[in-house]
């Protein structure tokens, strides 16, 4: 299953990036939800230490979104990299419970969304409407909740399959 962990992170981020561009018929105010989905994937895989998600893949995913949406070049690339940095910081924190882990994950998503709003406001040199960002963050949190829930179910089932970690002392 190691090849899956090497292939799946990059593939999932790339697929979600393409999904974010396709015309789904969502209302204008809810369109910001779609580009946040790759962020959830980036954070999820960054927190999984065994998964292979290089920085260039994150950068290219954002850049691809910028190119295809005709938005400011570098905007989504920057937001995705910030999501990656946030996830790296979260991965160094220690949590005893699943709720704590989810809390950190949720905090990171909210922080990245706030940064996205700030960056867009700076780009336009005016304070943008924050409501679409709040709605999108809520949707991204729901998606994260779903993913972590599924992971909790399947993770506990596959616990015995995982490689043994060598530790010194006992």
């Amino acid at each position: 299953m190691r090849w899956l962990r090497a292939f799946l992170p990059v593939a999932s981020v790339a697929i979600l990036t393409v999904v974010a561009i396709l015309p789904w018929g969502l209302p204008v105010e809810d369109r910001f939800v779609l580009p946040l989905l790759p962020i959830v994937a980036i954070m999820y895989w960054t927190l999984d230490r065994d998964a292979w998600l290089p920085e260039w893949a994150v950068f290219l995913a954002g850049l691809m979104l910028d190119v295809l949406t005709q938005g400011p070049l570098g905007y989504w690339a920057l937001i995705y990299l910030v999501a990656y940095i946030a996830a790296v910081f979260v991965s160094h924190l220690r949590f005893e419970t699943a709720l704590g882990r989810f809390g950190a994950f949720a905090g990171a998503i909210i922080g990245v969304t706030a940064f996205a709003w700030l960056a867009a406001s700076v780009y336009f040199l005016k304070v943008l409407d924050w409501e679409p960002y709040i709605r999108s963050a809520a949707f991204a949190l729901a998606a994260a909740c779903l993913i972590l829930g599924v992971r909790a179910i399947f993770g506990s089932r596959n616990e015995s399959d995982r490689a043994v970690r060598l530790t010194r002392g006992a």
């Binding site: 015309p23 230490r49 950068f59 005709q70 905007y75 940095i85 060598l166 010194r168």
Partner: protein, 308 residues
Amino acid sequence: MARLKDGLLFSRRGDDAVPGRRLRPILFFFVFVSCALMLLSRLDHSILAGTRWQIASWLTPVLKTAMIPVEPIRDLGRTISTQVALQSELERLRQENRRLGNWEWRARRLETKLTDLEALAKVVPEQKLDFVTSRVIADSIGAFVHNVTIEAGRTRKVESGYPVINADGLIGRIVDVGPDAARVLLATDINSRIPVVVGPKAVRAILAGDNSAEPRLMYLADGAKVSPGDDVSTSGVGGLFPAGLRLGSVADDTSSEPRVALKADLDRLDYVSVLFFNDPSARLINDPVSRKSATDSAEPISAEGMDP
């Protein structure tokens, strides 16, 4: 190897150090590149625009392929939302049908009258517009831009500047054309400016997008009265769009500045038509015969004017 690099192989159980990824210098390089690209975008660098559209054109086959599984999902969503709103929609359609019945009778009478008058005045018939209909393969409606990518490009004789409509009226115009794809700048985009006429008195204005769902009316003449519900259509001024393309009506909320509720649902664009409309006055300017006759007629006047 990754574990060896991260120094986790001999981590002590109960150690304070929690295993995790590290931030590598290349990450900050990418952050710097992203910021630099944003700055160049802000400065509207011409090289970026050309390269970006070229790359987007190359990725068109990817988007076309990705659209294959999307369409059934989108159709399903539409079917569900239609079923949910069916009862209220039926009632609305009944009322509309009743109202339109009267209008049809009036329209037929006016049409007959207009045909007679046109024949009497020997009016030059309007330019018949050719068009091509294409599927929307990508949309980018967000905080920054409101545009869609369509499947028709230069091979289908689509050119930059052509108006784009759907069954509900004008939706925007072509701004970038590739061999097999074109980008449509929607009427709601911040860069969109459309000359329009408003209401029964044909008040002239400019419909300006601001990335919100309802674009605003700018440059209304002093004292011009615009009421909610007034129809808004293209004026044809400037030759960018043909006159009389329907856009929508003045929105109910006119508290601060008049806005227009577009007839077309820009959130759900499936198929759109590109009108092969070229500015007639541009053709006049480029025509060598008309240019020569204009020069000939201008010369004696200037000569008379110059000689005392």
